[in-house]
């Protein structure tokens, strides 16, 4: 028996199963795209005029932030999806099978990375229609997308941990917003951190989202990346080191 290849195969089977759901219930994808597109339009055309960023047109400032926000909100789906399986008894079935203990979680988080990438590409296309430009090299842009995907993957594990702790889909939804909202708005997604009041600013400057957004923005605007990328990667690594074992442990001790 080859444990490694079994684990790999289990994760693939689970990912395929989750992806089929998005194919058969396209509304899930449509709704997870409509919301960020609305944010994009709202901030570009309603608030954008009043926001001073010092980086040319606001759409070029905003889109990198919105892409990060999209995967952050998308990560909440990980917890909701797991709780959904839990409440339908699917997790019981999986736990009674000789499959790898990590495969249900890994399959779910990988699915959410794939879904995130799909939505990020769609958002970029919408952005291109309303003035966003990839002026600083396709590789810089792809690097930025890779960082966004990695960041979404890390937060999926946070979401999984919370989902498995709260155990009902409705609570998972609400519990998701509680931590996602302050993180999203207390960051450089929409406005420069330097414009915030001092207490919020201290929070925003150390917010992992700010580091990720700043890195992505630097890559797409052709600005120096600086230390942002190292802080971003350190945060991603730190989140995974804490939350992967927490989520797996939660999964194992489901009763």
């Amino acid at each position: 028996m080859n444990n490694f290849s079994h684990t790999f195969s289990d994760i693939r089977v689970m990912t395929k199963r989750n992806l089929i759901k998005y194919r058969r219930v396209p509304q899930l994808l449509v709704f997870s795209t409509i919301q960020p597109v609305m944010f994009l339009l709202l901030f570009t055309y309603v608030f954008g005029g009043a926001i001073v960023t010092g980086t040319g047109t606001y759409i070029n400032y905003l889109l990198p932030g919105i892409l990060v926000q999209t995967v952050l909100f998308g990560a909440m789906q990980t917890g909701i999806g797991l709780v959904d399986d839990l409440s339908r008894g699917m997790i019981d079935r999986f736990r009674s099978l000789p499959m790898a203990r990590s495969a249900v979680l890994a399959g779910r988080t990988i699915t959410d990375v794939i879904r995130n990438l799909f939505v990020v590409i769609l958002m970029t296309i919408v952005g291109l229609f309303i003035g966003f430009r990839i002026d600083h090299g396709i590789f810089n842009f792809l690097g930025a997308v890779a960082l966004i995907a990695l960041f979404g993957f890390a937060f999926s594990w946070v979401s999984a941990t919370i989902g498995l702790a709260v155990k009902t889909p409705e609570t998972a939804q609400v519990a998701g917003f509680i931590w996602v909202f302050p993180l999203a708005f207390g960051s450089s997604i929409f406005v420069p951190v330097s414009s915030m009041s001092s207490a919020i600013r201290a929070f925003a400057e150390h917010n992992p989202i700010t580091y990720v957004v700043n890195t992505v923005r630097a890559l797409t605007l052709g600005l120096p990346v600086g230390n942002n990328i190292w802080f971003a990667l350190a945060w991603i690594a730190g989140i995974m080191i804490v939350f992967v074992p927490l989520a797996v442990n939660r999964y194992r001790s489901i009763s």
Partner: protein
């Protein structure tokens, strides 16, 4: 409780070679309630007397002194021991919250075992959990099948997760879809399936690897009588092919219909075990069931028939049906009819029948199973 006067009495009586039945009869006639005796017997005497029985060759499940405590106080299972014979159907029968599901979840590795030991199909359920999972099948209380997949995709997925190859998973899915009469629905998404079809698919999913033992947790809960009947048929067919089944049910009729051996569970204890017939014999003899026309005459009827019974009659106020265990055979029926007739009580129906499992439950616990 440990030095309850009854315990020493019972042990002394056993020493004199009295059977459990004789001891219980003696105690009952001395004024003890069946209910008290049941508790004493099960909690202290049976257990303390139980030697460490070696796992017998033909038993596929061996449970020894298993307890499960939730939140440090709630005893879902209290010192449960049992065995399941290979090739048999064994039922765990009890009301909601009795501990049946807890036991099945422990044996299928979904719940951790903290107190006691258990072996299933030769594997220690704690140490060899992963190996065990590859030889058992479980169909739980929900139909645990994926709504957005087709029937075939569901079975193929389970096959792959049992680490069967792609062609084997596919072939097995085909066989099972055919066996469970789902050929036509096999490529339809489950949203279009009826409740009964989902249950059948769920059962099929638990059989993908031809498990050595199949655990069915309340397999027919929520099904209409026709669906229930169809599922019983399926289970019987499986057993005919040699599958061992351990099922839980709160339906007395279901255990009676399907199981070779029944363990009656109440409040985390096994309070009785045996074949359906053996359990019925524990009630002692037959049951007189009597339906009278006039509700106002129930008390009078009870007074008149009580002398014929081996235990006090039980009255169902809603249906005017009186049931009473008797031990005298058919002549009692005639005596009772004569007595009631001379008192001018009109009888709609009177029968002498073998006890139902509900009567057993009543005799053992002092309360009805449902």
């Amino acid at each position: 409780m440990a030095n309850h006067p009854l315990i020493s009495y019972v042990e002394e009586a056993r020493g004199r070679g009295m059977s459990n039945k004789q001891i219980i009869d003696a105690l009952t006639s001395a004024g003890w309630q069946t209910h008290d005796l049941t508790n004493i017997f099960l909690e202290h005497i049976e257990v303390s007397r139980e030697p460490a029985i070696p796992e017998s060759a033909d038993s596929i499940v061996t449970v020894r002194n298993v307890s499960k405590i939730y939140n440090k106080t709630i005893k879902a299972l209290d010192n449960v021991s049992l065995e399941v014979k290979r090739g048999s159907v064994t039922a765990l029968l009890g009301p909601n919250g009795a501990g049946k599901t807890t036991l099945v979840r422990i044996l299928t590795t979904l719940l951790t075992l903290e107190h006691g030991t258990a072996r299933v199909a030769g594997f220690d359920i704690v140490r060899d959990a992963q190996e065990l999972r590859s030889v058992i099948g479980l169909a739980g209380q929900y139909a645990a099948v994926d709504e957005t997949l087709t029937g075939r995709e569901n079975l193929e997925m389970v096959g792959r997760l049992y680490h069967l190859s792609v062609p084997t998973s596919r072939q097995r899915a085909d066989e099972l879809l055919h066996q469970f009469n789902l050929d036509e629905a096999s490529d339809r998404v489950l949203k279009t399936y009826s409740g009964g079809m989902r249950r059948r698919l769920d059962l099929a999913a638990s059989l993908v690897i031809r498990p050595q033992i199949l655990f069915l947790d309340e397999p027919t809960t929520g099904l209409d009588p026709r669906g229930r009947f169809a599922l019983w048929h399926v289970i019987r067919e499986l057993v005919k092919d040699g599958t061992t089944v351990l099922l839980t049910t709160q339906y007395l009729e279901e255990a009676d219909q399907l199981a070779h051996k029944i363990f009656v569970i109440d409040h985390g204890h096994i309070i009785a075990q045996g074949t359906a017939d053996e359990l019925k014999k524990q009630v002692g003899g037959d049951v007189l069931e009597l339906h009278i026309a006039d509700h106002g005459l129930i008390d009078e009827t009870v007074r008149l028939i009580t002398p014929f019974g081996s235990e006090a009659p039980r009255v169902d106020e809603d249906t005017n049906i009186i049931t009473m265990p008797v031990s005298g055979g058919a002549s009692i029926l005639i005596d009772a009819v004569r007595e009631l007739d001379s008192a001018n009580i009109k009888i709609n129906d009177i029968v002498l029948r073998r006890p139902s499992l509900d009567d057993v439950f009543m005799a053992l616990t002092g309360h009805s199973a449902e």
